[in-house]
Amino acid sequence: MELNGAEILVDCLQKEGVDHVFGYPGGAVLHIYDAIEAQDKITHVLVRHEQGAAHGADGYARANGKPGVVLVTSGPGITNAVTGIATAHMDSIPMVVISGQVPSPLIGMDAFQEVDATGITRSCVKHNFLVRDIKDIATTVKKAFHIATTGRPGPVVIDIPKDITIAKMEQEEYPESIEIRSYKPTTKPSNRQIRKAAELITKSKKPILYAGGGCVIGNASEELREFTRMLGFPITQTLMGLGAYPMTDKQSLGMLGMHGTYEANMAMHGSDCVVAIGARFDDRITGNLAKFCPTAKFIHIDIDPSQISKNVVADIPIVGQTAQVLQALIAELKDKDLSDISKWWSQIEEWRKVDSLAYKKSPGVIKPQSVIEALYEVTEGKAIVTSDVGQHQMWAAQYYLFDEPRQWINSGGLGTMGFGLPAAMGAKLAMPEKDIACVTGEGSIQMMLQELSTMLQYATPVKIINLNNGYLGMVRQWQEFFYEKRYAMSYMDALPDFIKLAESYGHLGIKVDKEEDLKPALIEAFKQKDRTVFLDIITDPSENVFPMIPAGGAHCDMLLAGRDEMVSKDETDFNAV
């Protein structure tokens, strides 16, 4: 049968098992939209801004592990999506973005809505393609999904000129698999490295497991649990790894890094053997590299060789899929004797007693931490929580104890404000039976507000937990600490009435400004199974995120709430971000 390029493309997407496409039409993709309209296997979600499409597909992918698919037009369509693509890239999220391009003869002529899509996205994708021939559509789509979902996942952009979507050809078989000679990610670890790692692990007297997003994205949660329990080692998780190991478990020390717990950071600082599993020693984790883990040897497990010895030199590098590496380590260590680490545990228990996440309640104001605690209680710790970026993100990470992978969805690497709401929508479409909470702030939510409209159209009920303190809180916190309380542009005047706003979009709005109303409001919101509820919660504007390692500090230089409130300017490393 003769099909046009657009029909072939949509057919390929169907054969890839795509069920949702997040997109926005425009001139260059009209033929593709025509082909989408003619079928019913794929649901197209019409977002209100292309950034929302990319975040929506991203949230979908993070929630169920399938690649997210985005469809945008040329020019502003793809440039608007770039922030979302870069967000997915930094967090290794599988995504395929199809962008329309001006017709081939017009490329390079500064045509209407022309932009060099492959050029613009090059540094924030795993790979990108410009399709130059209708015959290449099927193999390109196959390659794109293969690259996006294997090895270290990431976004792949396919730029298709309009004339290619109009041209016709006899339909060919969609390839079942594809070989790319220049792309063969290592998945299975080297036995030699496994033996070396096992030896170091058995000798360690102060071990710590440091699990990152690679355990979630690599679906290694089960193996991680078995490995951790078998060894009886303490485990700390990065912002991206939360839930890979249950945070309520006694071996869990919680999150590490800039706003990590005292016990996690002190254990890293004192450890003699750090086992990094799908984590990349990001600057928010390590703080000052020169003072990072001064006594530790490092075993670094990652599927991406370029992550190993990038920031911290690994003593034993292991390249491979986190799940496969952990299986190999479990097999290798099964009957081996471990060192006695009871002293190490009692030291850790001492650190735990500091209770670094304790906070003072004050009458008359709602503490943001207590909102997350109440959310945890009301949802029985079972909701999927998405977040935006800032203080609320840290509080959600600290106080909602995630027990399952893919339960916590946030922009960790790029730190994209505006991510939370469309990601919640995508997560709801991926996991319709789950309760979804979007923890946000009055700053972040305003960056992607328009998606409230999409959420009504596609009936994706989520609960928006807006921690409204009137400030860009994280900016304000840094200004308080490091800029002598000069609050430049961190106060937001003229906020909208979020209740009326939610209502105007057809949702339910509830304002909460008294502590005693908090829990009942949350209960009421989650009772509304079929509606998106916007909870505008007025919280203490002066609250800061603690503990905190000031930029450029070491793990042992942590500031604790109540103990240290301020840092002198001279001690701050302004070169650190």
Binding site: G119, R122, S123, H127, S182, P305, S306, S309, V313
Partner: protein, 161 residues
């Protein structure tokens, strides 16, 4: 330290910009970069001269390998290899210290390939050091224009990239 990195990559539009983009994006330094087709018309071979510490070099090699179109990456510096660079230089008449240009051409084993308007075009090939030495031997004001290819290299004997 200076390193010569050989890269075999798919001969596809955009592959070169991916490599050069990678170097700017990550702040790696490029002294020279040459690229041309191999005996397999679907593959190109690129030679990059870069400098940096061992850690930076390790990252360069790993990041290059990570590019989807890159088939193979080798640091030639770490093995027995031959390296060459070619320069075309337009020189007007005499050299420094009165040494005759023709004599100089003989000493350096290079060739005069053209002469027009009393300007000689000389082809010099060899290691970068030799080319630099040739230029040093000529009065700077007599060097009208030069064009260098950048280094290309290959390993010796049976060892392939």
């Amino acid at each position: 330290m200076r390193h010569i990195i050989s890269v075999i990559l798919e001969d596809e539009a955009g592959a070169l910009s991916r490599v050069s983009g990678l170097f700017t994006q990550r702040g790696f330094n490029i002294e020279s970069l040459t690229v041309a087709q191999t005996t397999d018309p679907t593959l190109s071979r690129m030679t990059i001269v870069s400098s940096g510490s061992e850690r930076v070099l390790e990252q360069i090699v790993k990041q290059l390998n990570k590019l989807i179109e890159v088939v193979k990456v080798t640091d030639l510096t770490s093995q027995d290899h031959v390296e060459r660079e070619l320069m075309l230089a337009k020189i007007s008449s005499t050299s420094k210290e009165g040494v005759d240009l023709k004599e100089l051409v003989e000493i350096f084993g290079c060739k005069v390939v053209d002469v027009k308007d009393k300007i000689y075009t000389i082809e010099v090939s060899g290691k970068t050091k030799k080319i630099n030495a040739f230029l040093d031997a000529i009065e700077p004001s007599n060097i009208i224009e030069i064009s260098r290819t950048g280094v290309t290299g290959i390993s010796r004997g049976k060892k392939l990239i």
